[in-house]
Symmetry: C2
Subunit: 314 residues, 2 copies
């Protein structure tokens, strides 16, 4: 198998980064890992913005072309004081992902509180209301995405219980009849020595393709000077999403440019959303060095091909 390295198939947008704290209309520290979706023919990012206390909230940014975004004046979601939620969001809402299911938009995010991180789910029909549904997991758990449709009658979520033992940092799948109660969880992908040897996590919500559910995942390597976050792709069976039918055993995108190498957390690329255009090009929005947001583009069919160069083909 030919390994084409981290420039393939994604190409960075020439005016990266596309959003920095200078674009946020109120004081903040950083703007990074953002969910992405098209809504009413506009591009919409759900930004994680870290304030100067070091706590994160969610604010929307909108664009007509997918490149030039305007950040809302108002914060969209910040820690709830509802006794159902307090103190679980007290230290912030982080790393949102968004999935449309039957016309409603569901946001999975990390609720961070004194017990550690856990996965929360909210919904919106209009990107005005932010309707909390539940705190879906116990601690520690993060990096959750929902599938865009029920499979075998159940909602399906991928997440990452931190776990211990040799399986620390594995990607898991879990099922729910109602989005609130979750079970039948299984590990589907486990770190092996190499670029993702320390931990893995799903990055973007699965996209249905003829060949399987396509998603990006991140691999973390613990180095002598901190962690290195890079990106791979995987393909899950349409009927049985526990089954990995292809993946890139090498990373396909990693930090190389200054805005990815230098920042509050150096050497991080962290996509939380992608948009597939009608012409088959993917726009991948990613947090860079936990400090700004950048964009890279690549063809969906190429991404699927390199997934299928993995251990199996569909």
């Amino acid at each position: 198998m030919e390994i084409k390295g981290s420039f393939y198939p994604f190409k960075r947008y020439s005016d990266n980064p596309i959003l920095t704290k200078e674009d946020v209309p109120y004081p903040c520290n950083t703007v990074f890992n953002a969910a992405a979706i098209k809504f009413n023919n506009k591009y919409l990012l759900i930004l994680r913005i870290e304030d100067q206390r070091g706590r994160s909230h969610l604010t929307l940014a909108r664009s007509n072309d997918g490149y030039n975004f305007k950040v809302d004046e108002e914060i969209w979601a910040q820690p709830s004081e509802d006794p159902e939620y307090e103190p679980y969001e007290r230290f912030g809402l982080e790393d949102p992902r968004v999935t449309m299911i039957d016309g409603t938009y569901y946001i999975t995010y990390t609720a961070f509180g004194p017990y550690g991180p856990r996965v929360a789910i909210s919904s919106t029909d209009d990107f005005r209301e932010f309707n909390r549904i539940c705190l879906a997991t116990e601690v520690e758990n993060k990096d959750a995405v929902l599938f865009p449709e029920k499979i075998n009658g159940h909602y399906v979520m991928i997440n990452r219980p931190t776990g211990g033992g040799s399986g620390a940092g594995s990607i898991w799948i879990t099922y729910s009849p109602d989005l609130v109660h979750w079970g039948r969880s299984r590990a589907i992908m486990t770190p092996e020595p190499g670029w993702g040897g320390s931990k893995l996590g799903i990055s973007t919500p699965p996209v249905r393709t003829d060949c399987g559910w396509l998603a990006l995942y991140h691999g973390v390597r613990a180095t002598a000077s901190g962690r290195l976050y890079r990106i791979g792709a995987l393909l899950l069976d349409l009927e049985n999403p526990e089954k990995i039918i292809g993946y890139t055993p090498y990373f396909i995108f990693g930090p190389e440019y200054d805005y990815e190498r230098i920042g509050d957390v150096p050497n991080v690329v962290f996509p939380c959303g992608l948009i597939v255009e009608d012409d088959g090009m993917i726009k991948m929005y990613y947090g860079a060095a936990d400090t700004c947001i950048a964009l890279a583009e690549g063809p969906l069919d190429e991404l699927m091909k390199i997934c299928q160069c993995g251990p199996t083909t569909c």
Copy 2:
């Protein structure tokens, strides 16, 4: 509040320990943390037996009087090779608890595999069949008990996601419509500096009393030479079991005798089951030093009284 210390209200049985590896009719390393219940007028313990590989399985022991137990010749439950369960039980089944709900006996236990520990649930009507229901949580999670009845239409479980941050080792509650899918989890008790400053976990399944659900919990203190496991009691609101209506802020039972101080894991008392007799006396069966099983007895009404000396009374 008068603090009566660890001899009150439980008194050790004079012939402790009641079970050691000498009582097991096949080679093993240790026999310890056991679930306890009355079934067909016999006392029944579900033993955790560790084999000489260091892996645990479950075997039953039976008694007519609650003091003298005979261990079954046959193992009751060992790691399943069912692909639904493999590899999650590969390294053993640990620390069972048993609860009767509507005439069926449900066993919660720690399934231990390469991803870490997680909570599993099985059932039996006759203590012959061991019917696996599900792996109920992701990793890491252990020390789970089921309530003996549904509350507000849902099954209720207490467990302990290992968690991180300052809340590491808190006791949580979670709910299910079907025993398989769990949600609406919350932390209900968190370590504070003192005898349980390192972590807490529930010990015995809740017993319904007029005043609330009574259960024993364990507190762990990290010392310079290892962990020290001791026992408290708590009382939960009958209608809203998230609400602690009383607890012993001090430990009421801790390692003092040689068989509790000396063993594979020194300084551990670890009850997984108790039986309330018709005369109001409790038999508490506890693992001692992860090596043998011992028994202590005390009056239920006294235990409830000392719970109510806590921050609130019912």
